[in-house]
Symmetry: C2
Subunit: 308 residues, 2 copies
């Protein structure tokens, strides 16, 4: 499905063509990812890494990183290695989360999961390989950015994957599965760490690479936290309302697994209202960037309007 | 067992007390690792990371990093975060290699493996957490080293874990298992990538952080590649000759798994000769560092004389 602007822009301004914007950036990111990983001996591991990394998807995370860097006065080129690293990290977490020992998923983005194609051993190693390569890729390929900023971005990348980020969120998620009385605090912890933290890292790293002051990084953080939580709420709603074909993954899986979700606590309508409120709060954080914030504003609205 | 100098030092020089040296450095590394990872919510993941990271061992890898940095004119403090990161990376690779989907080991360093204690899901995540934290730890905690050098060290760390290092070696190792006709080239590839590459990264990162010229880094590389291969040959010999109690892990496992090893190709005596030759070649690379090279020379000899 193609995104359209379903929100009001200030009077007298031409509407922002988000759909064209996303497509253009997605092409740039695809090309960068494709050339990032060659296939050499031992071919199987590089193929397994490429299989999941190049399996499509909207590339929302790298696009957020590029868009924030540009909004904050930097360039696409400055942020591209970090944008690719963020997609490698995201892919690694999907490969490991899908493993039989974790969520035991057979399909992802409409394709067989990594371990179904390459075996569990290679899937674990492909995730490890992508994670390690993400850091190497940023350290080696980032140009025209002071080394201190690159180090700061690397520190953020490390934090967002580790026990303080994706890994911590997944541990609590696994512990909560099958429990009927998961609190809203636990649910928030899981989603903050599994979803919002990575989106936040995308946005904040874009700002870091462009060199904006700490106070503005804080605003970017709040923007990202809000859209991150909205993103997850919409995901939960779609898990109930969308079909498997639309999602490209097993639908209704949360219900089957007796997972606590926002709709299971708030109901679908209230969940939608909460997601809208979060998007409004997110957009308000970008006022100081004026006209330049249009892509990030449009992306925020896009997140709640998506249907898969 | 305690190390003793079983090699000749130049005339007129007091013997170098390697045993005391290693003990002192080991204590420093233990303390740094212990304080690197707190236990906070969600406790289970931090405990799982600490369980394997603080399970003892000689800490040879971080000690090599510290020793090289000092030899090359740097300080222990400059290299300590990277030394800790190298041990985190080593630990992560052990946790993942021990998984049922990989080598399926129940014991490591005389203790139950991580997944036997915490479950496969948490063990996978503990490895991921340690790997990600290694990079964050270096980026955040390295002091009094120019940022460019820290980035260079991070690039080395990333490379040594990924498909061009540990992960690539493990893939070929898994493919070779149960095959009767593994070539010496394949065996070399596996050990270069699973063992020697990490030791090389320890030594080279120490040199990078101290800021020595590229030509000298090349010498350090060759020193490390040689001791790395010798290390693996001795490991293979010990797998045959040592008892389970001495090794702290399942002995004779390579034979059971029909793994090709150096003794299976060369026999034990020739393997020992080859290991000695490698150590001599390693030591010759350190001539330019004079007196300051004594710890690294002693460590090289220690590697072939160890009995577990």
């Amino acid at each position: 499905m193609v995104a359209t602007d379903n929100f009001q822009m200030p009077q007298g301004q031409a509407p922002f063509d988000l759909s064209a914007y996303l497509q253009e950036r997605q092409n740039l990111v695809e090309a960068a990812l494709d050339s990032a990983i060659p296939v050499i001996y031992p071919e199987k591991i590089y193929e397994a890494m490429r299989y999941s990394l190049l399996a499509g998807g909207k590339r929302l995370r790298p696009i957020l990183c590029l868009a924030t860097c540009e909004m904050a006065g930097g360039t696409i080129a400055m942020a591209m290695p970090t944008a690719c690293a963020l997609e490698m990290i995201h892919t690694m977490s999907l490969i490991h989360d899908d493993l039989p020992a974790m969520d035991n998923d057979d399909y992802r983005r409409g394709k067989l999961t990594n371990h179904k194609v390459y075996g569990e051993d290679v899937a674990i190693l492909a995730g490890d390989g992508l994670l390690a390569y993400a850091f190497e890729f940023v350290a080696v390929n980032t140009r025209n950015v002071p080394a201190e900023r690159v180090l700061q971005a690397i520190a953020r990348l490390g934090r967002v994957v580790g026990a303080a980020g994706l890994v911590g969120g997944q541990v609590v998620d696994l512990e909560s599965e099958g429990q009927a009385d998961v609190s809203i605090e636990t649910l928030n912890f899981i989603h903050n760490h599994k979803t919002a933290a990575l989106l936040e890292a995308c946005v904040v790293c874009g700002g870091i690479l462009a060199g904006i002051p700490e106070a503005d990084l804080q605003r970017l953080s709040r923007y990202a936290q809000n859209i991150g939580l909205a993103f997850q709420i919409v995901d939960d709603i779609l898990d109930i309302t969308a079909t498997q074909e639309e999602l490209g993954k097993t639908a209704g899986k949360d219900l089957q697994a007796q997972k606590a979700t926002y709709p299971s606590i708030w109901g679908i309508e209230e969940s939608q209202r909460q997601a809208q409120k979060l998007i409004q709060a997110a957009v308000a954080e970008l006022n100081l960037f004026g006209e330049k914030a249009r892509p990030l504003i449009a992306i925020a609205h896009f997140i709640t309007s998506r249907t898969h």
